[in-house]
Amino acid sequence: MYKLRATILKDIQILLRDRVGLIFMFAMPILLVLVITAIQSSTFELVNKNKLSLLVCNKDTGSLGGELVKAIDKIGMFRLMAVQKDQSDKMITDRMHAKDAMLAIIIPESFSSKTTARAKNTADKALHSFGLEGDSLQASPGSVDPLTLYYHPILQEPYRLSVKGALSSALQLVESKQVLRILYFSINEKEMPDSTEKEMLNNQVTITEIPLSMDGLKRMPNASQHNVPAWTIFAMFFIVISLSGSIVREKLSGSFIRLKTLPTRYGLVIASKQITYLCVTLIQAAIIFGIGVWVFPFIGLPALDLPADISGLIIISLLCGCCAVSYAICIGVFARTQEQANGFGAASIVILAAIGGLMVPAFAMPGSFSTIIKLSPLHWCLEAYYGLFLEGGKLKDILMNIIPLLAITVLLQLIIIWGLKRKRLI
């Protein structure tokens, strides 16, 4: 026991002298969590609070263009910036290049007249099918000139699609309103009252959003709940740089030769590193979670809500730490140079994080990735954390994530033992 204590003490002393290693293990993940959460939080708020700036050039000579602008404004997703009718497309795109706005919409001159003509045609067809006489059917009302939507290329596909969806729904509203007005007029030979119009068009079925939860409580997910656990796992596994490097350094140094001549088994070196770095991963988790809970609100980010099952959180953090340490030691045992350990270690963690769903959600990955995802220990760590943080689960609820995580850890430990025996180190 005294030998183990002395070895742990030695590892801690070396670790404390390794400032670059400490930066990699603590400062870098903290920065990463702050930056990614801030970015994702602003994306969350893009939909809820922050609005996408939209230049609107209404060239329509009628009233429907104005109604469309009001409908777009009502969606609440855009900050509208009106542009003079006489401004050319080039002037609008120049403003976009200057990042005045990410989007611009141009409503054509004939928007009202052609939309009305189409609406009238639709209404007449409807009246005709009801057996009522409408105005004589036009052969073809002609197509409405398209609205032009300019978008900045930095706007990613999902945002662009949601913008297009929002604009289509506004357009649909204006068109439906016009059809309704014409139908009303044809039947009642008077204008439709505003109250009726509002009643008919605005009385939509509302949508109640309920996030999936294991404990029955409704907690709205935010960027912190998503990012803090994910990047904590990344930080834990990123100790590979320091830990595997330390094992290789020790193997290559003269001290290793002396250790082999002493009456103590080399396995003790590995056991000491497991314990020391497991503590490091737990400290990392505690610091990052602590920042999420106490520091985030001070810098305008949503606070991290810790799960109700704190003991479950500790156990999962311990298991994630064990797996991360096992992975790093495995690389350290097999790498022949520090460059191999650092290069392979860092690259493999980024890849495992990517396929494990830390960077892109697992559900958004192609179907062919369904098996590969399961090979990443980071995936099982993330699923276990999400079970606690997002779904309000308890330890028993996430057993199915713990079992594969344990299996991967045991496998890594067996590979370590095999590698040490093969290299005659134990």
Binding site: Y2, K3, R5, A6, T7, L9, K10, Q13, I14, R17, D18, S253, G254, S255, I257, R258, L259, K260, T261, L262, P263, T264, R424
Partner: protein, 251 residues
């Protein structure tokens, strides 16, 4: 050759080949070193001095024959035998990130010592090797001589009966060499067996009772230094060395 004292090292019919090589580098090699001796192993670069040292300390596995250290087979009883010997490798063998005290405490624990004994011995060794003033400084910043002295101190922490020294004075200044050689002479006088390799033949003349010359994996001669010089009619170890191993570069 008859020995008055029990044997510290008894090598019989040793066979060893380097990893990945089929041919034996050592074949039927025999060597006996008595307890209390100060024994020097010399030879040109690549002659097999360090390899033999690594075999004696159990770092390399033997292929044929046996090596007994202090009466026990090293390949079978490494853990129990290694308590009684110390090894000063040619490469500096400690943690440069740590201080001398931290290094000595760690290697003391690994040598099977308890904390009070380690503390006492650490203070003694640092004083003897003139490292007390820098006891808590990071070793990385030390001069080559200070590092060599620390390298020696770590191998001595558990007061071994037998000390293997692989070029302990390589790359040090005259003062450090003087300190180290004097310390080793003192140790030997107090009963510690020394097995020593070096390219510094004048050190050997000063330190060693017996020497062996090794070349291309074979022990060419093994005797008291005085006997060798008289039987080969050489004035010094250097001329004897050149006479027996040739003047051409070996490696």
């Amino acid at each position: 050759m008859a020995f008055m004292n029990p044997l510290a090292v008894d090598i019989e019919d040793l066979g060893y080949s380097h990893p990945g090589q089929h041919d034996l580098f050592f074949s039927h090699l025999n060597l006996k070193i008595a307890e209390g001796e100060s024994f020097g192993l010399f030879g040109p670069n690549g002659a097999g001095k360090t390899t033999l040292m690594n075999l004696m300390t159990g770092l390399f596995p033997i292929r044929e024959g046996s090596i007994q250290i202090l009466g026990s087979e090293i390949s079978q009883h490494h853990k129990s035998v290694s308590r009684f010997f110390g090894f000063i490798p040619q490469d500096l063998s400690f943690y440069e990130e740590l201080s001398p005290v931290q290094n000595l405490e760690f290697f003391g624990a690994w040598s099977g010592m308890r904390q009070p004994a380690i503390r006492k011995r650490t203070a003694e060794l640092l004083e003897l090797l003139d490292l007390t003033a820098v006891r808590n400084k990071q070793v990385r910043k030390f001069s080559g001589g200070m590092k060599r002295r620390l390298n020696l101190a770590i191998g001595m922490i558990h007061e071994p009966k037998l000390l293997f020294l692989d070029e302990p004075t390589v790359g040090v200044d005259v003062q450090t060499r003087y300190t180290i050689i004097n310390y080793l002479k003192e140790l030997n006088k107090n009963g510690t067996t020394l097995i020593y390799t070096s390219h510094q033949l004048n050190e050997a003349e000063e330190l060693c009772d017996k020497i062996a010359l090794i070349n291309e994996g074979k022990i060419i001669v093994h005797d008291h230094l005085a006997n060798l010089l008289s039987s080969y009619r050489e004035g010094g170890l250097e001329s004897l060395f050149l006479n027996l191993t040739g003047k051409d570069y070996k490696h």
